[in-house]
Amino acid sequence: MKTRILAMALLIVAGLILAACATPTAAPTTAPQPAAPTTAPQPAAPTAAPQATTGDPYKIGFVTSVTGPASSLGIPERDTALMIQDQVNKAGGIKGPDGAMHKIEIIVEDDASDASKATLAAKKLVEQDNVAVLIGSSGSPASLAMVETATKNSTPMISMASASQIVNPIAERHWIFKTPQANQPVTAVQLDWLKANGITKVASIGVNNAFGKDSRDAMNEQFKAAGIEILADEVFQPGDKDFTAQLTKIKALNPQAVIVHATPGEGAPLTVQYHTLGLTAPLLHNHGIGNKDFINLAKDAAEGVMFPIGKLLVANSLPDSDPQKAVLLKYIADYGAFTNGKAPSSFGGHGWDAVEIALAGLQAEGPDRTKLRDYFENQVKNFVGISGIFNWSPTDHVGIGKESLVLVRIKDGGWEYVAPDQYAAK
């Protein structure tokens, strides 16, 4: 009996291992068909010369959190990547440095918002699928865990997460880049508004995870330096739904403004409860609530909420001279068409920037990992993206800062651009 069990166990494991080995490459992830035909992609496909030969597809590895707590970031990122793949391949692919047209293959892996699964996914993409460039992941811990795999395998990696440690210290992050702004410039914009309004006492409440921590760190550093007193630095756990305790404490301290570090899942009920409890101080969120969900959920309570964010949300009200305006409007239209009318979010924008920069690199250098990295570090100049205008350099692997951000106020269920000269008004 015992021996038979052992034999059976070994057999099953051997079978599973064989099955695992038998799949050298995952099938290309097929994208759902967009409702309306889309036009050619932005920087990528030049007019497809009919006589161009067809080369092997260029492979991009894309690790994102489709499931788990970070899935509200991961899903728009994935949809954006699949949208771009669809656009580029419909246009015949991109023309590589060898003169041939190459289709692109974006291999999407779900890390379930888990650092060790992200590592494994990164290894699969780099080692087995042999991708030219690695994009991911949605969350900071998962991105940090992938850093080693990318570095050891000399593969360029573009993260879509916020923590500044992902690209710092830069000497150790030779291969790593990222597209979202760090939290520091976001805080800097909040600080400008506070200063313009003569506010010196604030209270803070934030989610107790990597995103909230990074944002709170930036706040504690910059506000203190500017002489703004932080009366309370409260936190809540991801998934919490009742914030009465923290808000009651804050209410008793009577701050002149309250800073929130959260995403819509918690940020929206928090904002509603803030009003219910009768707090009236101006509410400043950070860029975590930058999608339509927040307004849909918080409804009336969202009115008057302000937050710094990339220009995507207020693309329509930007002056035509703004170099990003055309790119932003096209992304909004394309994304809506591809996803049957979903409103775009800044998270999808981070994905757009990462994929499009990768495509620009592939177009110029082909799928050579070292050349791609060098291209990213030295050739990504004035790249007009969704989150900002990127200028990567040997000393800066983020390449966008405060200038890429605007202050947005929620008004009548929509977003309103607040120009810096209007900060003090109202």
Partner: protein, 309 residues
């Protein structure tokens, strides 16, 4: 903290605590009749709320491939959603639990974990990752009590939780069906000998628990909103509340456990540290457990069976 602020914390604790109590009650009803710890209890709450939300307004489903617009009145939507989740509860029993012939509690728990993962996955496919909001049952400004406030929805939450508990009490104590259910809980074999169809009773327990869970999810959805993963969080809290005072087999223990957990959490966050809120709540529960390892409200009889895995 001023008395008003303490009152405010108490209100918040009671509100969230009555939801924990309802979820815990769902655990106990199933466990008493069938011996199964149903870790998918929180998913019933999530499904109830999401279905009710879908029925009340226009919702885009399946990654926006299909937009539905029912626009049913709230009351009808709540009823239909509860019935639908009761149907899911019946399916869970008929398709899964009834087919599993194991006495191992661990194996049963893993089966219900499988159910929870599956239901959550389906919800993710149908509703996506976005949280949704159910309109308040009776919109209006909150009711001031001193400097503290009580929202109308808080009243609905606390009120319906207690009304449901009272109804369940009457059902268990005064109806033939309820008595049969209780008989199964006391001694399944004896109940069978008395001509009670135990399998039907288990089905009833699952349907009943699913209904309780769904209602809990629905009444709290206007306050906390609901996403595909909110159920996990509610289920975990309900699981703790169901065990800690009543050993998973005492309805009163589950209710008091849920209320105390809610109040404890809020007070820990308000008075001590919001970062360690859950840790403090758990530490207090540990101490309670250690002082009275058999569960505070547990009747002396049958302690071993109740607590033993």
């Amino acid at each position: 903290m001023t008395p008003d602020q303490l009152l405010q914390l108490l209100i918040a604790g009671l509100t969230i605590g009555s939801i924990y109590a309802l979820i815990a009650l769902g655990f106990v009803v199933i466990h008493n009749v069938s011996g199964v710890i149903n870790l998918a209890q929180g998913e019933f709450a999530m499904l109830g709320a999401l279905i009710a939300i879908t029925l009340t307004g226009e919702t885009a489903l399946f990654n926006r491939a299909w937009t539905v617009n029912f626009n049913l009145p709230l009351f009808v939507a709540v009823m239909l959603a509860t019935l639908a989740v009761m149907g899911v509860g019946a399916l869970v029993y008929l398709l899964v639990i009834r087919l599993s012939h194991t006495n191992s509690v661990i194996v049963q728990i893993i089966i219900t974990i499988g159910i929870a993962i599956t239901l959550r996955g389906f919800a993710l496919i149908v509703w996506g990752t976005d949280p949704y909001r159910l309109p308040e049952f009776t919109p209006g400004p909150p009711i001031p009590i001193g400097a503290a406030v009580l929202t109308r929805q808080d009243l609905w939450i606390i009120g319906s939780a207690f009304a449901l508990m009272a109804l369940l009490y009457l059902f268990f104590q005064r109806t033939m069906l309820g008595t049969s259910l209780r008989a199964c809980a006391v001694n399944r074999m004896a109940a069978r000998l008395m001509g009670i169809n135990v399998s039907h009773m288990m089905l009833l327990a699952f349907v009943l628990s699913a209904g309780i869970g769904a209602l809990a999810g629905i009444v709290i959805a206007p306050k906390t909103f609901m996403g595909y993963d909110t159920g996990t969080y509610l289920g975990l809290k309900g699981f703790v509340a169901a065990i800690v005072l009543g050993g998973m087999s005492d309805e009163r223990g589950a209710i008091i456990g849920g209320l105390s957990l809610g109040i404890l959490e809020i007070f820990a966050a308000g008075l001590l540290s919001s970062g360690y809120k859950d840790a403090i709540a758990f530490l207090v529960l540990f101490v309670v457990l250690l002082i009275q390892t058999t569960g505070i409200l547990r009747r002396r009889r049958g302690i071993r069976e109740a607590a033993g895995v």
